[in-house]
Each structure stands twice: as structure tokens, then as C-alpha cells.
Homo-oligomer: 141 residues x 4
């Protein structure tokens, strides 16, 4: 896992990101990318807040889900999210810069399992996301 | 649970929705609301898609999470999401109209558990969301 | 789903139960069984308790997991558990009689999703279990 | 987290284990223990198998749940499992020796989140368990 990124890994990411309008809307910026791995960051804006003036859980989920998708499709096999469990441990507010890191913890023939952690600028855990993806037999592109 | 909605239940919802910018951005429309219950719908638009031209999992999660928040705060006690598990069963595309129904399955002193189902216009299950909320001791407003 | 049980559904259950030593150890008794459905009960004994004199979470999980396995294998296709999320809502004590009901909420080509509820004699929810199974291409026997 | 174990941490573990009949039945052996941390091992026996001759998911869950309980009660505050999500990544058979390691990933005022991994003798991941515990205001004993 996670040999340093080769060109085709980069091509896969470029292909996915370029067409991913919701990830673009979230303002996700990729920091690092390799087979089975993705690290990105984004900044919370006002439109991402819920009625209690903290970030909507759906935004935290979405950014983690994108990192999960980038990591699990990095092998070039089209992989779809089956099940995700997320624990919310700390709230975030408008202006906060959040970092998301997705790591592969299991890669089987048909199934991959990923651990995705979102942290704030103080290094505190904001959300812990465990995702299971199903590997189809199609290529990503 | 879920006696027909009384004024204060409506007031709580109005209060939450009015300030919830991300739920507004998603275009959520409430169809029914009562203690421990919420039903809403929304339409998938292009900006909600991922790189595979299907709805981003974060959007499905977010709409279900809003229904969860509305249902678990309906009792007037500020309740925050702790843990959520979501299973994705069918993809959705731009233009699809999705319905989300949140039901309370357990209401304890400190904890509530909710079952939230998202279905498409054919009545097929798109996502199954199980959410656990922690009931603080503060009122919603 | 859940057309009234035909002989082969019964055969599948008999085959699974007969060899399932841990389900036998738990004392699971099947009450009803059909395609995509299983209802069973069992009684909590002293050896099933944890250090706080309430039932060990692993026992609640195990009985629900057996009901899940029986329900998802009922179609005759060998199906293995991929992901489970369980919420514990009420404790149970030695002597309590618990009922477990597994219902299919989605049956796809490769994936099935099940909702399994454990209740006590007062009808209170003890645990809510959501399970995703992966359907191999092999028959059960 | 996980400063080297002091006498009271050991006392808490001894107190919990001594009365925990189901953990004894599973044959759990503690290898290491500290605040927010627990490592243990056990061996799969025939009675722990399901009808497909592999370990019952309930056994994998139960051993991980015990490690979770030991880790989250290590601080001396009675903590109960609220929600758990488990992903099964590899099956195990009779005779296999499994190691379970529980790590604290978040410790809040009322909530703790733990990552528990079960591996086999080849170091392969057998199950990934994410647990959320609710910290009551009572001491463990």
C-alpha cells in the first residue's frame, strides 16, 4: 500500500476531481495522494453551517467521503461506498481549517476498508469515519 | 411519540430551519413534522454530483442528517449527533426527487436512536441511516 | 420478500443451525423464518453477563448476528457479513427473555441490508442492529 | 493517553475481569493495559464457530467489545457502550490465535471513541471495530 505516487495514480485523481462538482463546491484541496491514501484540507464557510452555528454534519461527512473515494479508487478499480460509520467528536465553526486523512486498513479482492480522520488546526479530532467500499470489476475511467 | 404536531413542535422546527444555511442550500422541503418524526424531500441538482455523475454520498448523508436533527430536537431538548451509520443501497442522479423519513426508535434520558430512510420516486431505498443523538440538558432555543 | 416459507427455505435454515455451535450455545430458538426474514428468542444466563452484572454486548450482538445470517442466507446464496452497526439502548439481566427480529430492507445483486431489533418482554428496544451482507456467487450448502 | 499503568488502573481491570463471566468464557488473556488502552489475545475453539465452520461474528465482536470496555473504563469512570460499528475483513478458524488492541482516539467529557483492531498470527486484519462509550458520572467500582 501507498508506494509513492506514480503517474497513473495522479491521473486517476485528476480524472475524479475534475468532474466532482460537489467536492469542488466544498473547496477541497488535495495535499497528498498515493495508492490507498489521500490527505486534503478545506475551510468551513457560512453556508456550511447548521441552525446551531456549527458545521453541518453532512459537510464533515462529505469531505471525509471524498477523501475515502479518492483513496479507494486510487488503485484504478471503480470502487463504490457501501457502508460508512462516522463519530462526531468536536464541532467546528465558520473559518476553521480542517484536514482530512484517509488510510487504507484492508484491501481485499472485492472489499476495501478505510479509516478517515478529520482534525482541526489544534490537531483535535473532529470526526472519525470508517468506510467500506465495494470494488467493482470496472476500471475507474 | 409523534402525537400530531403541536405549536411548540412547529416553533422548534421553524427556529432550526430558519438559521440552517446548509439545509437551505440543499433545498430541503419539510412535508411532515411531529415529536420524534420528520419527513422531507429535495431534488438532486448538478452541483450535488460526484465525479461518477451520481449524487455525492455526502449529499445523501446531509439530507438524512438534517431530518435526524429535526426529529431528535423536536422534543425541545438540544440534541447533538454522536454516531451515525449509513448504508448506500442505490445511486441517484441529477433531477431525482428523494424523500427522507426520520423515525424515533428509542428515546432515553440522555440518548435517542433514529432510523432514517431515503427513497426515490419508485419507492426504492437509496440510503439507510441509523443515528444516535446525545441529549444535552439545554433547551433548543 | 418474505413469501411464506417454502421447503427449501426451511432446509437452508436446518442446514445452517445444525452446524452452528455458537448459536446452539446461545440457546437460540427460531420462532419464524421466511425468505429475508427471521424471528428468534433466547434467554440470558449467568455466563452471558459482563463485570457489571448485565448482559455482555457481545451476546446481544451475537444473537442479532445469527438472526441476520439466517435471514440473509435464506435465499440460498451464501452471504457473509461485511459491516454491522449496533446501538445499545437498554441493558438486560440474567433470566431476561429476548426476542430478535431480522427484516430485509434491501436486496441487491451483490449486497443485502438488514434491520435487526432485539426487544425484551416489555417490548422495549434493547439493541438496534443494521447489517450489510455480501452475496457470494456460491449456494449455501 | 496511556501513561504507563499505575496501580489503580490495574485495580480497575482486576475488578472488571474477575466478575466478567463472558470474557472468562471467551478465554481472554490480557497482555497490556494502561489508561485508554488494552491489548489482549484469545484462541478460537470449536464452540465459537458458526454453521460455515468459521468463527461466529458474535465472538469477534465480543472479544473486541471486552477490550473496548476495559480501555474505556480504565479512567475509573463507569462507561457504557452506546454505538459500535464493526467491519469483518477476514475469517478465522478453530485454533487461530487472535490479538485485539484497543486504542482511545477521543476522550471528551461525556463521550469516548475507541479504535479496536483484531489481527491473526500473520498480522492480517480480521475485524475493525469503532466504539463510542458514554461516560456516566459514577465510579467503576
Amino acid at each position: 500500500m501507498s508506494a509513492s505516487s506514480n503517474p497513473s495514480t495522479q491521473d486517476i485523481l485528476a480524472l475524479m476531481l475534475q468532474k466532482d462538482r460537489f467536492s469542488q463546491w466544498l473547496g477541497l484541496e488535495i495535499d497528498d495522494y498515493a495508492a490507498g491514501y489521500c490527505k486534503l484540507h478545506y475551510r468551513i464557510t457560512d453556508v456550511m453551517l447548521n441552525g446551531f452555528d456549527v458545521v453541518h454534519g453532512g459537510v464533515l461527512f462529505a469531505a471525509a467521503d471524498s477523501a475515502f473515494a479518492f483513496a479507494c479508487n486510487s488503485h484504478g478499480i471503480l470502487t463504490v461506498a457501501l457502508d460508512v460509520s462516522i463519530s462526531f467528536t468536536k464541532s467546528a465553526r465558520s473559518g476553521d481549517l480542517l484536514t482530512v486523512e484517509a488510510r487504507e486498513v484492508h484491501l481485499g479482492n472485492k472489499i476495501g476498508v478505510y479509516d478517515i480522520r478529520t482534525t482541526n488546526e489544534q490537531g483535535e479530532l473532529v470526526a472519525l469515519f470508517k468506510g467500506t467500499g465495494y470494488r467493482t470489476s470496472k476500471p475507474v475511467s
